[in-house]
């Protein structure tokens, strides 16, 4: 049976091919002048060319898409290539002179995608075929049914097959025959895709007699979409949570472990972001340019840690045990740092470019997740691991815990407590600097970058439980997910308000947060 369909489709294709020349000549020549007209005329001409099956249509449309199609004052169209300029109609060589590029708008661009899709569907390059299969979805013309069936019969790559089936179903919806339409509807019902839903609802408006079948198909799609949306919302929550986690981790060390209320914490994050910018600029044009972002991580850590160490040794250590003064002083330091950065780099935002592997979406089992967010979740967990490891397994971590638990006894054991204080504060600041690297990818690198995160950071640390890293992790992720789950219902502004009120009530009941420390450390 399959072979029969294949044979039939092939025969059809051959028939179309042999019948083409006489007819296509006219179609090409007839459509061409439209390209010199207004946007509406261009779009129509493009659609006609897309179905013309003329070999000259593809280079012409590609030229239009890439801005290489020129128009003389008298309406003559020229195609510009590396080899030279030729007249579109005759193929004769021509001088470009003062001919201007034919401009396209969204309408034309949409038509172009569809047309190029139908022309390239049988390309030998699998990447081109996949793109063509996606694009032909847009043209939604019944004329594409036969070529798509033929292409599907020949296709072996599974990803392209899936896309072809989707596009074929979409083309079937455009058929005048309700039986063919129904075929398309049934095929689309099996897809989990918002575009399929959109297309079905669009058809429903045009073909009211199929409303019942379409509703059933849409209901099927929606059921699966709902599950996917929940997963997506959860992912977005995790992503926001990981940003909060990164911003709060440094504070979990300086505030959570040492008890210093550091209002300049946000500025450490900001310094990290500027360090990323500096590394990017320094490596610009060198062979290390693609590695600028990973290299910025240690740079940001060192810069923020150095500033943190100077801050602790120079100012904070004189104010231990006086939280109010520490708060005011670090607040002032934060303003000084902001202004300093403003003087050095200017008040304008700096652009940190994202490397190619952080752009676009990653497709994971039908889910599409934005790449930069995935990387930031990974990075957040890595940094958390680093902090836990440093505190648990290094000598510095041991000394740090000892000083926090009992400063005097630690000192009698020969630990230089002052040095440990400085190192701990520098460590916390350095972590904040690393958070800045991640934030430079999703937020604006400006002197006020940090102010937006300081409140959130304190919120996470207090909510999770002061002094508890596990609390910081759970706190950050909980707040992130809560925020994102609420956003569609309450809006971005109100969602934040609701979360804040929730935290206030929670802290009323449990002043020590989710993971309250017990024992002597809690009183220290």
């Amino acid at each position: 049976m399959k072979r029969l369909i294949f044979g039939f489709a092939l025969a059809l294709l051959l028939a179309a091919g042999s019948a083409a020349p006489a007819r296509a000549q006219d179609a090409f020549t007839a459509a061409l002048p439209g390209l010199a007209g207004g946007f509406g005329q261009i779009a129509e001409a493009v659609e006609k060319l897309g179905t013309s099956a003329d070999p000259r249509a593809l280079p012409l449309l590609q030229a239009l898409q890439e801005g290489r199609l020129l128009k003389r004052e008298d309406g003559t169209l020229l195609i510009q290539t590396d080899a030279g300029t030729t007249e579109a109609l005759t193929g004769r060589a021509a001088e470009p002179g003062d001919a201007e590029a034919v401009r396209v708008n969204n309408r034309v661009r949409g038509a172009l995608r569809g047309a190029l899709g139908s022309l390239q569907i049988l390309s030998t390059n699998p990447e081109e075929r996949l793109k063509a299969a996606e694009d032909v979805f847009r043209s939604r013309s019944a004329q594409n049914i036969a070529p798509l069936e033929a292409a599907l019969a020949r296709e072996t790559v599974p990803a392209i097959r899936t896309q072809l089936e989707l596009s074929l179903a979409a083309s079937r919806l455009a058929s005048p025959d309700n039986a063919v339409r129904l075929q398309g509807i049934n095929a689309l019902a099996e897809v989990t895709d918002q575009n399929a839903r959109a297309l079905l609802l669009e058809t429903k408006a045009q073909v009211p007699e199929l409303a019942r079948q379409i509703d059933a198909a849409v209901a099927k799609i929606e059921g699966r979409l709902k599950v996917r949306q929940m997963v997506e919302t959860f992912f977005q929550g995790l992503s926001l949570g990981s940003v909060l986690l990164l911003a709060a981790l440094g504070l979990a060390v300086t505030f959570g472990v040492m008890g210093v209320i550091n209002m300049a914490h946000g500025e450490m994050v900001m310094l990290g972001a500027y360090a990323t910018y500096m590394v990017q600029e320094a490596l610009h044009g060198t062979f290390l340019e693609p590695a600028a972002l990973p290299l910025a991580i240690p740079a940001a850590f060192l810069l923020a840690a150095a500033v943190g160490a100077v801050l602790e040794r120079g100012l904070i250590r004189y104010l231990y045990g006086r939280p109010l003064e520490t708060l005011l002083m670090t607040f002032g330091v934060g303003m000084i740092l902001q202004q300093a950065v403003r003087l050095i780099f200017g008040a304008q935002n700096r652009e940190v470019t994202s490397p190619a592997w952080m752009q676009g979406t990653l497709t994971l089992g039908g889910l599409s997740l934005t790449a930069n967010r995935v990387w930031i979740i990974v990075f957040g967990l890595l940094v958390l691991g680093l902090v836990v490891a440093a505190i648990r397994y290094t000598r510095f971590g041991l000394e740090m815990r000892a000083v926090v638990q009992n400063r005097r006894i630690a000192a009698t054991m020969g630990i230089r407590t002052g040095r440990v204080d400085a190192l701990t504060f520098a460590f916390g600041s350095g972590i904040a600097g690393m958070a800045g690297v991640a934030l430079s990818q999703i937020d604006n690198v400006s002197p006020n970058l940090g102010t937006g995160y300081i409140i959130d950071s304190f919120m996470v640390v207090v909510f999770g439980g002061v002094g508890s890293l596990a609390g910081t992790l759970v706190g950050a992720l909980t707040l992130g997910v809560l925020n994102k789950v609420m956003e569609p219902y309450a809006g971005a502004v109100l969602a934040k308000v609701v979360v804040l009120v929730g935290i206030m009530l929670f802290i009323q009941r449990r002043p020590r947060g989710m993971f309250a420390l017990k024992g002597r450390a809690a009183e220290a």
Partner: protein, 412 residues
Amino acid sequence: MTNFTLTRRGAIAGLGAALATPAIPSAFAQGAPIKVGVLHSLSGTMAISETALRDTVLMMVEDQNRKGGLLGRRLQAVVVDPASNWPLFAEKARELLQVAKVDVTFGCWTSVSRKSVLPVFEELKGLLFYPVQYEGEEESPNIFYTGAAPNQQAIPAVDYLLGPDGGNAKRIALLGTDYVYPRTTNRILRNYLLSKGFTADDIMEEYTPFGHSDWQGIVSQVKRFASAGKKTAIVSTINGDANVPFYRELGNQGIKAEDIPCVAFSVGEEELAGIDTKPLVGHLAAWNYFMSVKSQVNDQFLAMWRAYIKNPRRVTNDPMEATYTGFKMWAQAVTAAGSAKVSDVIPKVIGQKVATPSGYIEEMLPNHHLSKPVMIGEIQANGQFNIVFKTPNAVPAENWSPYIPENASRRR
């Protein structure tokens, strides 16, 4: 340039300096300088947009001084930084009017900052030129509005989206920053869309705080909204640097302009200079001027700007053009009045005509607003706009929108 003072010695020294450099007319020696206040945020979330406006005013002041100043007096710019802090705008305005005693002020971008300085300018009888498109619903004797009113930007842009070239949109998502301009504009647009036969279900409205950076949720919400089988478009009144992560998210989530076009009212060439525009090709902006306009005045404007800023890569945008126009109108009004006093200048500003870089002649109307052409441009890969629509004539401003029911009694 030497620092002129009122003392006789200063005047003589000034005269000497003026004679020594023939480019500067000697008439400068007479009278105190005319003071031009500049009230734009140079830091904070709006600095991305407003810094260029300060530079534009300074450029215009320098240009005017090169031409001999006004009324034989030199112009002197007084720059303050209200730091994107709305209450600080009022304080700085007071400082300009009472301490520096400026004769005219060019300033503000966001409507909230304008609302904050309005009572100050009215109380102290100042004169403010406001260069940005806004929501209308305002008219002050002390303010001239050189940006667009809703009927010169928002409504034509939506008309374009609803038309065949814009894709015959049947659903509109209104996204904005949470303050007075987006809220009022969207209220006007909602009423307009309802009058065009839209149902409430086909309009989505969403607001975010200034500097919002996490757009994933809202962008996926828009995607869902767009999958109802009707052509969907976004109308963005997002202001300031929140636009950068917004457009980045649109690009990352693969929203193409052919599928869901986004037309922005506060994104111009200057804002795009900070982002990679390749994923944004085809998204739209509605303004009354684009840098890519072909006109003689625009060529001069571009040359002047590049010479002043000493950077051939710097761009111009609509509010800069509006600042240029406002400055020219003020200068013409001062010349016509023969005085820089606010009370003398204000009546003379009305009716002034200026050939602007937009290629049209714009006129100050009695309602303190301009007649302006409307243009719609698509973002290109190089960060410039491809103008896909423009009105044949300048459109007079309607600052009291007919789509706000309360204005019925106000209509004239």
